[in-house]
């Protein structure tokens, strides 16, 4: 029987190619895929979030008489409240899921920058939140008898921008509150007031779009506010998240 001899090669210093292989975005992508894989295996957050979205849609129908005119007038506000409340269930778990077995410490100790870790988690949350929203929208259309597809491309743009605002703030505050007592109380208490300008802008923009009207020129300032919010808070989160995670 032939004996196989394996020799252990000494570890070579990291080359330029290795460095490129583990670049910032590559690391963020790895973290994102890890989170998505973990979520798709358990489906805890996404199922809970979608179920909660349906429950809120049901409860809102008790709050007002859902006729066509009321639905058009309230749709923007209603939809974004559903997304914000249901989204919290996904965002709340983003860093908390790393607590068992000290996975969070391992992640922080890994040669991944805090910003890449944050971006990866934010992108995973973004995909999950968008998925919940895209499934909730037809359910909303059926329950409230609203044709929401008239301005589909503009609606998707607002959805993409508003959801990124929810994701960035939710993810960074999930990191901030992961180790503190009363986490479940503090997270919504801190995130919703910060999100207020973005939610207000998204609601104002969604309302005419659901009613079938294009974004009017006077509404452009809301769009600018939403874009400005996304850019500003993404930049500041990427800059400060290392401090939040490492101290």
């Amino acid at each position: 029987m032939a004996q196989t001899i394996t020799t252990i090669k000494p570890k070579e210093p990291a080359t330029q190619a290795d460095h490129r292989r583990y670049s910032f975005f590559r690391m963020a992508l790895v973290v994102m895929l890890k989170d998505l894989r973990a979520e798709l295996r358990t489906k805890e957050a996404i199922n809970g979030s979608f179920g909660f979205a349906v429950v809120i849609l049901l409860l809102f129908s008790f709050a007002f008489d859902p006729d066509v005119d009321t639905n058009k007038a309230l749709s923007g506000g209603l939809l974004w409240l559903v997304f914000a409340f249901a989204g919290t269930l996904i965002l709340n778990r983003s860093f908390a899921r790393e607590l068992p077995n000290d996975c969070l410490d391992a992640l922080i100790a890994a040669p991944v920058s805090g910003a890449a870790l944050f971006l990866g988690k934010a992108l995973a949350n973004y995909v999950l939140l968008l998925a919940v929203e895209l499934v909730s929208l037809p359910v909303f259309g059926i329950f409230y008898n609203v044709h929401w597809t008239h301005q589909l491309s503009a609606l998707l743009l607002v959805l993409a921008l508003g959801t990124w605002a929810l994701t960035v703030i939710g993810t960074v505050f999930s990191a901030l509150t992961v180790n503190i007592k009363l986490r479940e109380v503090m997270l919504p208490m801190l995130t919703y007031p910060i999100l207020a300008p973005a939610l207000m802008a998204a609601m104002q923009l969604t309302m005419p779009l659901i009613a079938g009207n294009a974004i009017a020129p006077e509404m452009m300032r809301w769009l600018k506010l939403l874009i400005g919010f996304d850019v500003m808070y993404t930049a500041i989160s990427l800059f400060l998240v290392e401090t939040v995670l490492v101290g």
Partner: protein, 224 residues
């Protein structure tokens, strides 16, 4: 020495306020709003002091994150508490003014809404501090949150420019209509409010420093 300066500043603020309130009471009534308009001498300076406090809290928070020196954390919490008090009084005086002139206590326009959001954010800052026991973590997380919270302040300031609001446009610049001979009374009130803010911050800062000393002694006693 520091305490003497604080006492002197406090006395100066009270003297300015007493003299100025007396002078404001003698001013003639405004043509449209009557005597109610005189609330502007308190409402706007309160907000000016609140915004100054928010700016100071931001600077102190950044300074803490850069230097990790706890005196900046103490300054941040002291000035945030004082700023929150000014914001509360600013909201209350605004609400009273709104009730007299608009007939309602509150309206959800951009200025009022963003101001309320600001109040909630700085209230959240104080709640966050209570929820974290470890001092370094508390100071770091609070500083980060304070930077996030400050980003709402420009929205409060510029909201009346960016949106059509029920809250009036500024009366001091951009072609405003504030009577020029009333301006110096207004500015003196502004000085008095900022002085009052400095005094209250100094007192609160001293308390915070004393608390830190007590905690340190307690830890030493516990270790022994």
């Amino acid at each position: 020495m520091r305490e003497r300066i604080v006492y002197l500043l406090g006395i100066a603020a009270l003297v300015i306020l007493t003299w100025n309130i007396n002078a404001i009471a003698r001013l003639p009534e405004e043509t449209q709003q009557g005597v109610t308009f005189k609330i502007i001498f308190f409402h706007v300076p309160m907000w000016a002091a609140a915004i100054t406090a928010a700016c100071t809290a931001l600077l102190a928070s950044v300074a803490f994150l850069v230097t990790k020196n706890f005196k900046y954390d103490a300054l941040a919490v002291a000035v945030t508490e004082v700023g929150l008090a000014f914001t509360t009084v600013g909201l209350v005086t605004g609400s009273i003014w709104g009730r007299e002139i608009w007939g309602i206590w509150w309206t959800w326009d951009a200025r009022l809404t963003s101001a309320l959001v600001c109040w909630l954010l700085y209230g959240g800052y104080l709640m966050l501090r209570k929820a974290i026991e470890e001092p370094t973590q508390r100071a770091t997380f609070s500083a980060v949150f304070s930077i996030f919270a400050f980003l709402d302040v420009p929205i409060v300031v510029f909201s009346i420019k960016w949106w059509r609001t029920q809250h009036p446009q500024p009366v001091f610049w951009s072609g405003g209509s504030f009577p020029p001979d009333w301006t110096h009374h207004f500015l003196w009130n502004m000085v008095a409010m900022v002085l009052l803010g400095v005094v209250m911050t100094s007192v609160r800062l001293r308390q915070e420093e004393a608390q830190r000393e007590i905690d340190s002694l307690r830890r030493t006693a516990h270790a022994l």
